[in-house]
């Protein structure tokens, strides 16, 4: 088992390097720091001195890959690639373009993100599995048919409308919760409730339909037929056999997004003004703060790769038929 995990981690390393190189190329080679500086400072009347100063303030005034002026290892380390990209490997994000410490910001902002994503995930799993089981129980009846149609209709509505509609109906018309904002401690609940609810409703369609297919596939298998044949009531068949085996693909599907919960949801956070990592990223995109966007791209990729690793491990735990070879 440990061998397997080590091998998987070693396998993840080249991917991390690849991600790093891609972000580096995207941010420094496609457009040089000069271009970015010129854009940030305005187009027409920009002096070369202003550009040089902008670059010096942010540490972009070094050569990109190879510093011929430095001595010894400085030839490699005194470069933009080393300072801004290689250091990402050890999670040294450096400073944002506006001068704040990105690492500190991230550690502060991940908690509000988690406050939204964790309840959404747990409540969502419970709700979708329940709905999917109901549909599977009533399979091939009108309840099932119309349930699936409803799912398709709900899937076809943009998530923006769920958020806008939720804010309008629950926040503005009914005055149940504040429309947006965030607070710490127990007060946070009233701010968190609406985003969680909206997120839940927003993905009912696709998730329920997907889980229903998983359960239906499971129901066609031999062991379920055996269970029915020996006279087990349909409810027990569902709970004891179908649900348990269906949970394997569902849970392993969940494991891959577990690490991504830190990042939070971009749109939801921004709409509800929740100071999490999602809105942090969106603000950075709107302010064109390249340092933050670069860090978040890298962090997101690391978390995704970590999620893949967890998935592989959880498969082997959940399904004893898979051998670690």
């Amino acid at each position: 088992m440990i061998n397997y995990i080590i091998r998987r981690i070693l396998y993840a390393l080249p991917i991390l390097i690849g991600v790093n190189v891609i972000t580096f190329v995207l941010f420094f080679v496609v457009n040089t720091p000069d271009d970015i500086a010129r854009m940030q400072l305005g187009q027409k009347r920009v002096t070369q001195e202003a550009i040089e100063k902008w670059k010096a303030d942010r540490g972009y005034d070094r050569p990109i890959l190879w510093n011929a002026n430095a001595s010894g290892t400085g030839k490699l380390t005194e470069t933009i690639f080393y300072i801004h990209s290689v250091k990402l490997f050890v999670f040294e994000f450096g400073q944002s373009d506006s001068g704040r410490d990105i690492g500190h910001d991230i550690s502060q902002r991940m908690w509000p993100s988690l406050a939204i994503t964790v309840p959404s995930l747990l409540l969502g799993l419970f709700a979708y599995i329940t709905f999917a089981l109901i549909l599977a129980f009533f399979r091939a009846t009108y309840i099932d048919v119309w349930g699936v149609v409803l799912c398709v209709v709900m899937m076809s509505v943009s998530s923006m409308f769920y958020i806008i509609g939720g804010q309008f109906v629950i926040g503005k018309l009914l005055h149940l919760v504040p429309i947006s904002g965030y607070d710490t401690g127990i007060q946070a609940i009233k701010f968190v409730a609406l985003p969680v609810l909206v997120g839940l409703v927003g993905s009912i369609g696709s998730s329920t339909r997907w889980y229903r297919t998983i359960f239906l596939e499971e129901m066609n298998k031999d062991y379920v037929r055996t269970a029915r044949a020996k006279g087990l009531p349909e409810k027990l068949v569902l709970y004891r056999h179908v649900l348990r085996n269906g949970l394997i693909p569902i849970l392993t599907g969940v494991v891959v997004i577990l690490p991504m919960l830190f990042i939070g949801s971009l749109i939801t956070e921004s709409f509800f003004a929740i100071p999490g990592l999602g809105s942090y990223t969106i603000d950075a995109i709107n302010r064109q703060d390249f340092a933050i966007v670069r860090s978040m791209v890298y962090l997101g990729s690391v978390l995704y790769i970590f999620g893949l690793l967890l998935t592989d491990i959880s498969y082997t735990i959940a399904d004893p038929r898979i051998r670690l070879e």
Binding site: G18, Q43, S156, S158, M160, G300
Partner: protein
């Protein structure tokens, strides 16, 4: 003088490919069988009819030209610098009748009170009459009956067109089946045959009557109201159709060659080729999609502002950005299909006919093209139709983060984005959002239903279950 945007060229290339593919399919029985199953599905046929209308609108909007300036006809012909499309010409009145600000659907008066100077010099605060909508009315109180009369006459025109189309299609069917017209009509009414013609014709009728009513009314009223700068919302929604369709289809067009070539190669050659390709798609896949798009669009903006000379018109800039967005979305979305194709190719390469060809010394390329590719086409087909609706929906989200299509371009995402803050007004300005909602649902829901039907027909696993 015609103008060709790059996206226009691509959309017609795509259209040509679809027509070629359709022609090829009709000549091969094994390819026709699953499509027949799709055609027998009433929901899917309703979806096809509705999608057809969207595609027609999108195509009309893809033929661009510089309109000729009419007063120059005598001398040398001159062209306006504006770029119009065929759709713009058809919706001339909607496009040009611009009010000053918000107005509700079918309103004759402005949404906000203004100071009006009466003929006798006194000033009152009231809702002013709109500059264009309802101008033809002498008495504003007649608006209800006027709308009714106009919608009936618009609807009648629609009914007439529908009757014409019905006649044509029945005539064609009769020729095709070599029946008399009466027999054909009878079989449609009695719902005989596999293809639900009665449902197709009814849907067609509903669509045509609705559209012609709305079109006719829209030259007298703003049927879906106007937005903040007084533009007709119905016109904007129609213009957005092209954007939505382009995002959904061009993205697929961009990614297909990569996905198919790399996926099949990985599965067929295995070994180091497989390792490299797997590494490539895992790496790309692990970068969060929205962030990659954001980074790429930021870089495009930097490039465009530093090379402003290369883009002569706003439309070209917007077009470039749309194309770039499609490419980025394509680069991100080929990985899923590639993985599926790799798995399938791994299975196929062990099958007897592939082994036999290898033993006969047939080249790798020929084997992949002749034996592997046709046998993975069902996966490609399913994934194209399933991805489409997701991409249309994604456009709205990207517009919100300002990394979607150019803000000057009509798109549902931009409509939602500019209208979402207006819900805070009192009374609420709801029509822009409602229009975007209806038009998006009208495209995405049929697309989803059609995708389901295609998947059911093409997926061999589901086919054997039935």
């Amino acid at each position: 003088m015609p103008v060709l945007f790059i996206t226009d060229i691509l959309i017609f290339v795509l259209l040509g490919m679809v027509i070629l593919f359709a022609w090829y399919t009709t000549r091969h029985e094994h390819l026709r069988a699953p499509w027949r199953q799709v055609a027998a599905n009433p929901l899917a046929m309703v979806a096809v009819v509705i999608l057809g209308f969207y595609i027609i609108i999108g195509l009309l909007d893809s033929i661009h030209f510089h309109p000729r300036l009419s007063w120059e006809e005598e001398k040398q012909v001159e062209y306006s610098t504006e770029i119009h499309s065929l759709l713009d010409v058809l919706t001339e009145k909607m496009r040009t009748q611009i009010e000053t600000s918000y107005s509700a659907p079918f309103a004759t008066h402005s949404f906000a009170k203004e100071v009006i100077v009466l003929p006798d010099g006194s000033e009152i605060r009231a809702y002013p009459r709109l500059a264009f909508a309802g101008r033809h009315l002498d008495d504003v109180n007649d608006v209800g009956s006027d709308i009714l009369i106009k919608s009936i006459s618009g609807g009648l025109v629609g009914l007439f067109i529908w009757a014409l189309l019905c006649g044509l299609s029945i005539f064609w069917l009769a020729r095709h089946r070599q029946h008399t017209l009466n027999e054909t009509l009878g079989s449609i009414i009695q719902r005989q045959g596999r293809i639900p013609w009665h449902i197709i014709l009814i849907t067609l009728g509903l669509c045509i009557v609705t559209l012609s009513t709305l079109f006719y009314l829209s030259s007298f009223y703003h049927v879906l109201g106007t937005d903040k700068v007084g533009q007709d919302v119905f016109y904007q929604s129609l213009k957005s159709v092209r954007t939505g369709l382009l995002i959904g289809t061009l993205t697929t067009l961009v990614m297909l060659p990569f996905a198919i070539a790399l996926g099949i190669m990985a599965g067929y050659f295995r070994g180091w080729v497989d390792d490299v390709i797997q590494y490539l798609y895992t790496t790309l896949n692990s970068i969060p999609g929205v962030l990659l798009i954001a980074a790429a669009i930021l870089m495009l903006e930097v490039y465009m502002t530093n090379h402003a000379v290369d883009f002569t018109s706003v439309e070209q800039r917007a077009d470039m950005r749309l194309l770039f967005l499609c490419m980025i979305l394509g680069i991100m979305s080929w990985t899923g299909l590639c993985r599926l194709l790799r798995g399938e190719a791994l299975k196929l390469r062990e099958i007897d006919y592939v082994q036999a060809s290898q033993a006969f010394g047939v080249g790798h390329l020929t084997i992949m093209l002749r034996h592997v590719l046709p046998n993975v086409m069902h996966i490609v087909m399913i994934s194209i139709v399933i991805d489409f609706s997701g991409l249309v929906l994604a456009e709205a989200v990207l517009a919100y983060i300002n990394i979607g299509v150019d803000p000057s371009m009509a798109s549902w995402g931009n409509m939602i984005n500019s209208a979402r803050l207006e819900l805070a007004r009192d009374p609420v300005v709801w029509w822009s959002l409602a229009a975007a909602f209806i038009f998006m649902l009208g495209l995405v829901l049929p697309a989803n239903l059609f995708a389901d039907a295609v998947r059911d027909a093409f997926d061999p696993r589901i086919r054997t279950m039935q």
